[in-house]
Amino acid sequence: MAHEVRLNLRAIQSARPGRSGLRVILGITGLVSAMMGGILAFSLTRSPMREAPLLNAALDCALLVVFSLQLSQTLSAAITAFFERGDLDLLLSSPLPPHRVFAARALGVATVPFLWFGALASFLLIPLALFGDPRWLAVYPVLIGLSLVSGAAGIGLALALFRLLGARRTRTVGQLFAGVLGAAIFLLSQIPNAMPAHGAALLTRLRRWTESGAFAPGAPLSWPAEAMMGRPAPLIGWVLGCGLVFLLAARAFGRPFTRNAAVAAGAPPDRVRMPSPAAIRRGFGGGVFAHLVRKELRLLVRDPTLLSQVLLRALYLLPLGFSLFRALGHGQDAQDLARLRLAAIAGVMAGIAAQLAGSLIWITLSGEDAPDLLACAPVAGSRLRQAKLIAALTPLLVLLAAPLIAMALLSPWVGLCALLGATAAAVSASLINLWFERPAPRRSFLNRGGGSTLVGVSEIMLSIIWGLATGLAAAGSPGAFIPLAMALMAMGALFRGARPRRAG
């Protein structure tokens, strides 16, 4: 088990951003979180920590969100472990009983989410414990218990998928499912924003449920929250309960785990349809450019894990749109309101375009799997890059075409602004990735921000700025010139910063 923990720690180390990037990210996150923790701690000194139904419900919800995110991580890690094997063959060939092999792997799978969430929580917990109430440190053992359960549940879920779908399909479906699972709670939390009328009713019902005594101190639903707040009995119960679940899972899943691991190793290749001679000849047709675009599109479409990760990044911009949508609902007549809401959607579309373009272009440019093949081909580098850009932007065009057309039909001006904004945002994301191209394996997509903090931060900031510029322009506000100027200045600065790199 120590071996599993060591391997996972090394994986985290290798995925971390560069030193300067790490310092900046940790510095900003630490400062913001410490301030929040300080404020919370200060308010707690005025009203000491005590279990209240609303607080209990909120803490339970937080725990549920963390569990869903952890489960997404552990399911993905479990499927990766089954198929990419690593040291799994060594473990399976060792004279260990199946339940111990499972326990070792599940512990390894659970380590990463615990370390991530533990580290994130520390920014809040340490100030809270120092300046408020030290009982908040009980969150750590609660997180350990939760991680153990999510580790076992992640592998259990992977085993269930094996049983339902077979080894071949589990690989793809499982990774997609993990992505959806990670976003599920987040999306559910957006219901009140997306559907204000239904959302309000839902919130009222939840409030009534909270006040009904279900989350009263001592009620079973309050135990997780009370464990987090350091009440001894729920805390001990939580840790022991989670430990017991883990041990039972190891007993129950040990044998299926080793059996399925063996099946995964011998999983037959995907059934393939043999192309006809005419199809083969057609496949060889077309110019260099067509071949490059076709290859990039094939690689993108055939990697559903990567594609789902890309789409999930855009998904997280939706709350901004929902919030804008709601914020515009006050003090306007119906026609103005509709126009402003449409403008807000145009802004969000530009932001999404920037996010998607940045991700897709990174995959095709920096994530090239055979850079040497392209480098020794008799094709100019500029032509290669053009083809890659077109291949990367094609899925974006497909995704945005329908909403853009709908928007243009509703309001030609807003449609035009959305088109220009999305184009400008996508072009700026493309240029940043071209200027700061840094080859990396495609599978390291999720850690791509670690390659360059500057690129990561610039992409996020510019997607927001372009979104603002587009939204304001679509609303007919001259204020659009301010974010537009900011975006152009930022691009100018990035161009200057990238010049030595390009020259080299």
Partner: protein, 254 residues
């Protein structure tokens, strides 16, 4: 070993390297001169870190030399890189593949990059895939392939545009004995039909059996080159095996 082809000094060389230098932390290639005739099978040998791969990467246009010149069939690799690349195929020891593509799709892509016509490319692809025993797996994605199969797909990619100069870095890695024989025969057939092959290998027996001439480099410099008898003479060991000659010249111990 076959009888040596016409002397490399006569006519236009398939590959002509003059005063080639490349340094990273320390010199990797240090004033290398090499001349290989068209239709020659040349084996470049040397211990690990001798500068073999760096040299070949510069020939393939993947690295820029610090000094010196490289000409492929008279075309300067640096000043007219596109024209030079049209003549070359480079197959490194790590196959340059896309796991999500099938062998057929990979060949379609490579043929497209080198601008081979559709009908000709389709015909060549079938021939090569059959020769390399990949035809049945032509539509399967490479991600499930063994190392040896990936190596064969990469080799097929190197052959699809019928290069005049084929540069292979450890081409037999991961291949079983039967397939290694097929690949060796295939390479010899290419040479017989006029192509030039340069390969690096750690299997000295392969160099001894296949190559017309052998060059041994160490510390980025050519120590000796010629037919096996020339190498024996240089090492002062008549009747010695290539392994004995190699170890003696590079100062390595068995």
């Amino acid at each position: 070993m076959r009888p040596a082809p016409p002397p490399a000094s006569m006519g236009e060389a398939a590959l002509e390297i003059r005063g080639l230098r490349k340094a990273f932390d320390k010199p990797a290639v240090d004033g290398l001169d090499l001349r290989i005739a068209p239709g020659e099978f040349y084996a470049l040998l040397g211990p690990n870190g001798a500068g073999k791969t760096t040299t070949l990467r510069m020939v393939a246009g993947l690295l820029k030399p610090d000094a010196g010149s490289i000409r492929v069939f008279g075309v300067d690799v640096e000043t007219d890189s596109i024209a030079a690349k049209r003549l070359i195929a480079w197959a490194p020891d790590e196959p340059m593949l896309y796991d999500k593509l099938s062998p057929l799709e990979y060949l379609q892509f490579v043929a497209g990059l080198w601008g081979v016509g559709a009908a000709l490319a389709a015909e060549r692809a079938e021939t090569i895939l059959r020769e390399l025993d990949l035809w049945e797996a032509r539509a399967q994605r490479c991600e499930g392939f063994s190392r040896g199969m990936k190596q064969k797909v990469a080799l097929a990619g190197a052959l699809i545009h019928d290069p005049k100069l084929l540069i292979l870095d450890e081409p037999l890695t991961g291949l079983d004995a039967a397939m290694a024989r097929i690949v060796k025969d295939l390479l010899r057939a290419r040479v017989s039909s006029g192509a030039t092959v340069i390969l690096t290998t750690h299997i000295l027996d392969v160099a001894e059996r296949l190559a017309d001439r052998i060059g041994i480099i160490d510390h980025g410099r050519l120590l000796v080159e010629g037919a096996l008898d020339d190498l024996r003479a240089a090492a002062g060991e008549a009747g010695a095996t290539l392994e004995d000659v190699f170890l003696r010249l590079t100062g390595e111990t068995a």
